[in-house]
Symmetry: C2
Subunit: 469 residues, 2 copies
């Protein structure tokens, strides 16, 4: 058990060592570990090797472990006594692709600290937040504990994967195959956000994700619209007609059965959410919008966190270069994803989407589907013991009550931890809505990084004192 003076010494160490923490983060950010693009496979491996070596330097038994895809890292360390709980920390070293590159103000893998429009200091790079910056808050907190006390306040396993951004397809079998090795009392996941720049939060519900790619094919080759226009079916016409019908005029998804099993929020939660007063002005104005685009009979906070949605994430077909070309393309494709909520079965949603598209195909057209993700929604136990300890620690660090919130994003690993390892997860992170994750100019507030490290220092102390589950 750590004394208050010991805790203060570790926090002081974080402050004193912060410039070095930043340099270590920069070294990690310079590695182009884009998991979606096979051209960057060697960079993914390099990121894993780099991180494992750094974690090993803190006294962990750290290994780079092969999976069927990009490798994972497993690192273990004993705490300073044996009776404390054993936590499994999770993060991911892989990052999203960087295109459109021309919209970045700086090169995405050359991190810098710069000034945000409103004066906040920010770290800019692909992965600055998601998830290299976030996972580094935890690694740096461990480093400070080891530096000051020579050990950690509880038993820790750190597991870091390299395929989160592409659906963790090879990591889940890896968990299955290493159940015994990864045994712990609960999981800590650092891949979520704060409520706002000064209010910490723990995420207790997550939407799931069904992500489909659909390709419509018509003629056996591209055609000249002068010769065939009017007579030949155009797959872009078919694709836009089908996708353009996915929402009705009230913002509801039109796929039959889509809302089956979706429950309304309990009145007490809805009342609590109303009090948070998330408005179009505060949430949408910074991104240049003013009108909530979801179901028009729902609060904005429901639209983005407790209601299921459908978004077309990409579409392409025909001639897309400069100028004009009078072509009728042979095929057109789109990437379509669904954020799903508790009560929705991802496989049923996937099948309903495929049936919806297939039923609307005119003659001469075929559709091919590719499954990129089908992860269910998660609702965590709000009364879990480690959660209460973590909430207390966050409140101490930020001087403000930590909120328990729902997230619109999916972190499918949370369901996988429960299913494969039997672990409940506590989701704590320091991201902000304006971090541009998955977009050009991704950033992480310097304060998120600094106070994020300090937060984990306090959380580790609090967890060491808390009952095991």
């Amino acid at each position: 058990m750590s004394s208050p003076s010991q805790l203060q010494a570790v926090l002081d160490r974080v402050d004193a060592d912060f410039d070095q923490s930043l340099e270590r983060l920069f070294a990690l950010l310079r590695i182009k570990s884009i998991s979606a693009d096979p051209a960057f496979a060697a960079d993914c491996k390099a990121a894993a090797v780099h991180l494992a070596a750094d974690i090993a330097s803190l006294g962990f038994a750290a290994e780079v472990r092969a999976t069927a895809g990009h490798p994972a890292i497993v690192a273990k360390a004993k705490g300073n006594t044996g009776s404390r709980p054993h936590a499994l920390f999770y993060g991911h070293y892989d990052v999203q692709p960087v295109d459109p590159l021309e919209l970045w103000h700086r090169l995405p893998f050359e991190p810098v600290v710069t000034d945000h429009a409103d004066g906040r200091k920010i770290i800019v790079a692909r992965g600055a937040e998601d998830d290299k910056g976030q996972l580094s808050t935890f690694v740096e907190a461990c480093r400070a504990w080891v530096a000051v006390t020579g050990s950690l306040p509880l038993d820790l396993t750190i597991v870091i994967e390299g395929e989160e951004e592409v659906g963790s397809k090879n990591f889940v079998p890896f968990l299955e195959a290493n159940k015994a090795d990864l045994a712990a009392d609960f999981a800590l996941v650092c891949d979520t956000g704060m409520w706002d720049p000064t209010t910490p939060a723990i995420t207790t519900s997550l939407r799931g994700l069904v992500y489909e790619e659909v390709k419509i094919k018509a003629a056996n080759r591209d055609l000249h619209s002068g010769i065939f226009g009017g007579g030949a079916q155009n797959p872009i016409r078919v694709l836009t007609r089908i996708l353009g019908g996915l929402h009705d005029e009230h913002g509801r998804v039109t796929i039959p059965g889509f809302y089956e099993g979706v429950k309304d929020l309990p009145p007490d939660i809805l009342a609590q959410w109303k009090k948070l007063n998330l408005t179009a002005d505060s949430f949408l104005k910074p991104i240049g919008l003013s009108i909530p685009a979801g179901e028009d009979d729902r609060l904005l906070i429901e639209q983005i966190s407790s209601r299921p949605t459908c978004d077309i994430n990409g579409i392409v077909g025909g001639y897309t270069g400069e100028g004009s070309k009078t072509v009728i393309a042979a095929e057109a494709s789109a990437k379509v994803s669904f954020r799903i909520v508790e009560g929705q079965d991802p496989m049923k949603i996937r099948d309903a989407f495929r049936a919806y598209v297939t039923a609307r195909l005119p003659g001469d057209c075929s559709a091919e589907f590719l499954d990129h993700s089908n992860a269910p929604a998660i609702a965590l136990d709000w009364n879990m013991k480690p959660l209460a300890a973590a909430k207390r620690a966050l409140t101490d660090e930020w001087g403000k009550d930590a909120l328990l919130i729902g997230s619109g994003a999916s972190i499918p690993i949370v369901a996988d931890f429960k299913r494969t390892l039997g672990l409940d997860s506590v989701l704590i992170g320091f991201g902000l809505d304006d971090d541009n994750i998955h977009s050009p100019n991704e950033k992480y507030d310097l304060q998120s990084f600094h106070k994020g490290i300090r937060s984990w220092v306090r959380i580790l102390a609090a967890l060491a004192e808390a009952p095991k589950t």
Copy 2:
């Protein structure tokens, strides 16, 4: 006036020189004169210089002439007496872009003669037909006349432009500025097709082309669909919804006023077209289709030649790379074109399309438009004198009556010749529906090239004997 024995000598010369004609065509095909892409501007100039030098070698006064875009060629030669009509020949040396390159069986600018599936010999390359192969049939016919008789049977001006595939925006002002220099009795345009591989045709009506690009913008940056999905407007959703509504379930275009001024075919023409018996089996089966996709109460031949159409020629937005990315794009765009017919005003169609899109924009979205083409439809005089002479010559060469047909494609220059130079045009070409123009693996039948040259040899003789207009 040429004697029958002189004509036969010129035709024999074409046959004897055919291998060299092919070599000269190959040299032209090797030049990457893609007008749409600024990266190929030097290649366009090289094509103009190459062609002008070749035409000059036939005794023409040939010049490469600057325009505000890619240069044009103007070449003049006097016929062997002064009393014959003066014809202005038109072609274009520029070609369409080649993407998707991976669908070409051979490199697009390395021409070869190979076997078509059904045993026909074909020339394969970008531009093999459109329009390098076609314009070369005329140049090679002139070469044969000059080789055998030392001159041409009538006064000729050859004008070849370099921006047909991008809307001739700079060539039309060039015509305006050079009216006196380009005076002639009528124009010959070689950029159209035959009825089938053994039946020659003269095109007497052409659809016009309105080609628009539309870009929908929503948020001020790309967004993460986990954070913003459900709350933020998605421009791909908006674009597909708008474009997906452009056709009704009967294949009719839904833009208000779109069919205003469009007339039904005269009963006698309709009866004639019905006899041509253009079926889905003959026309669509070769491209892997079976069901006419146009207005379901119209014949297929009407759908592709006398009825106006709308096609989406390209669409792009969001993430289109490998794998998945949970992004809500800031913008999405599409290229949309309309084949229009006699009675439709291109500017009215353009404005109606823009109004249609704008009226359907939800809040928070804006639309930007770019005008790539607005050319009216053309109906030529079926009783023009040079046309009768050319029809007779074609019938002689192919041993089959030449048909007078309507074309679904636009050749906007025909309207420009009438407006700027006061010239009627005779449209003769040797293309086939399966030539893959504007597509990968563009080809030109070896027979089209060979008998095309022979056809022009006969047409020049027939025109020299015909009344001037």
